[in-house]
Symmetry: D2
Subunit: 154 residues, 4 copies
């Protein structure tokens, strides 16, 4: 494991190793007949439980889901609402693959977390969700807008 | 349990009871602060395993996922590729709630299955996925189109 | 033009010819570097105006949009809320290509309409949106559920 | 107009004024019966043409589209592939509303551009798309992965 990061991680080495193993294994379940591009993710909830996910593609491309969101939907449907970290990996050996904008948005619904990008070799880089989606659109904005709308009606 | 259906179901009563219980329980985990509308689903794979799902909403409404797809993504990321039946339920007591078009499409990627709509009272209605999305857009169409495209190039 | 249909169309031949031409032309603008599969659509609003659309794909497959929805979003953002018919076409010469489930759902938000599937040769088949997405999930369901929820609180 | 920005804009004041007017007008066409939250956008293509967009919601929340993507799909289906700037506005008077992650991803498919957030009062803030979605997932990644996959097969 070779970690690139300029700030302190939220996980210790053992936790990260375990999360990387879950992401690697989750990748093997990918359903990706259209892109031939397998992605795996592992999401660590504050509860201590870990949720793996892979991409699940669809003939109508727009209904494809990414590995990161699969992991998040699994966790959320298990009652999880707070997360510590996510690891993302693919078959692509020469690049660190970052989550797409849709996944950044869906993850950010539940607050900030560490985001790790892992190459198949085990090389890993760390950042945070807030760094990947600054000024995110959030529930607070809709709540404030609704409040303002109701006040204007009075 | 009061089942409305004109054709023979693919499940026996015990299997259906168990699937209904999973859907009911999955509904309780819904994250639906925007619609205040909770939906639960339970998907029975050909392996015999059952996967529960709920809706997980997002402040960017377009990134919301339905209960049926949550269940499907959980199953698919566990390696499941064939399904026997899905049960859908909500808090809405007076209507049978059918899956939206996006869920019909995502489920149909993996072939036909029975679809059960359940009211909170336990009243239930059965149909099939093919009846809900006739002439579905599928992988075969893209494969044929690609084959035709390559032939035209030769 | 060779039209397959068992029921009376909502358009006369001239209107249909014009709509088919718009769909054909819209297809040429497709941005489809991932699927290499071009689709065009033309949507006729009750106002008499026509809106063309093509698929616009994304490297994150799940953010891809279909031709039918592009046409609908163009029309809706121009203030249109009622529609008479949509024509869909692709480069695929041997099949009638039907809208995916997501497009059926988005179109059905605005009620029923005729749906025409056109082959590059000009062969055409007609159906209705309601036939393609029976028992559709709709605004009425959410409105009723909200009403029921508020009543239970009283 | 009161512009907050630390770097030089890509538009002159007249162009920006015109784009702001288009966004304001596009907002009025919003179809938002679920959120009651209207958003407008105006996208300036390198061709010099401007495309307005609004949010178009759906009873299946996940099929809702944002104003920014409506504008982008209109432009792309008109053949546009390069963009200079986008303006986003809403009815929310006290906040600068930034695009959601899905819109950032869809816009970034076509490269960088200026992004302006406008309040109803005319107050405006400027940033760039690259600042809003750093390390974006892109076509290049899929192309490289495909190339690597084919090389490994040889
Ligand atoms: Zn993603
Ligand atoms: Zn659905
Ligand atoms: Zn579609
Ligand atoms: Zn958006």
């Amino acid at each position: 494991m070779e970690l690139e990061s300029s700030t302190a991680p939220s996980l210790d080495e053992e936790e990260l190793d375990q999360l990387m193993a879950v992401a690697d294994k989750a990748k093997l379940k990918a359903y990706s007949p259209y892109s031939n591009y397998r992605v795996g993710a592992a999401l660590l909830a504050s509860s201590g439980d870990t949720y793996g996910g892979c991409n699940v593609e669809n003939s109508s491309y727009g209904l494809t889901i990414c590995a990161e969101r699969t992991a998040l939907f699994k966790a959320a449907s298990n009652g999880e609402r707070n997360f510590k970290a996510i690891v993302v990996t693919s078959d692509h050996s020469e690049e660190f693959i970052y989550p797409c904008g849709a996944c950044r948005q869906v993850l950010s619904e539940f607050g900030n977390m560490d985001v790790y990008m892992m190459q198949p070799s085990g090389r890993i880089r760390r950042t945070t969700l807030e760094a990947l989606i600054p000024f995110s659109f959030s529930k607070k904005i809709l709540d404030d807008a609704e409040k303002q709308r109701l006040e204007e009606w009075e």
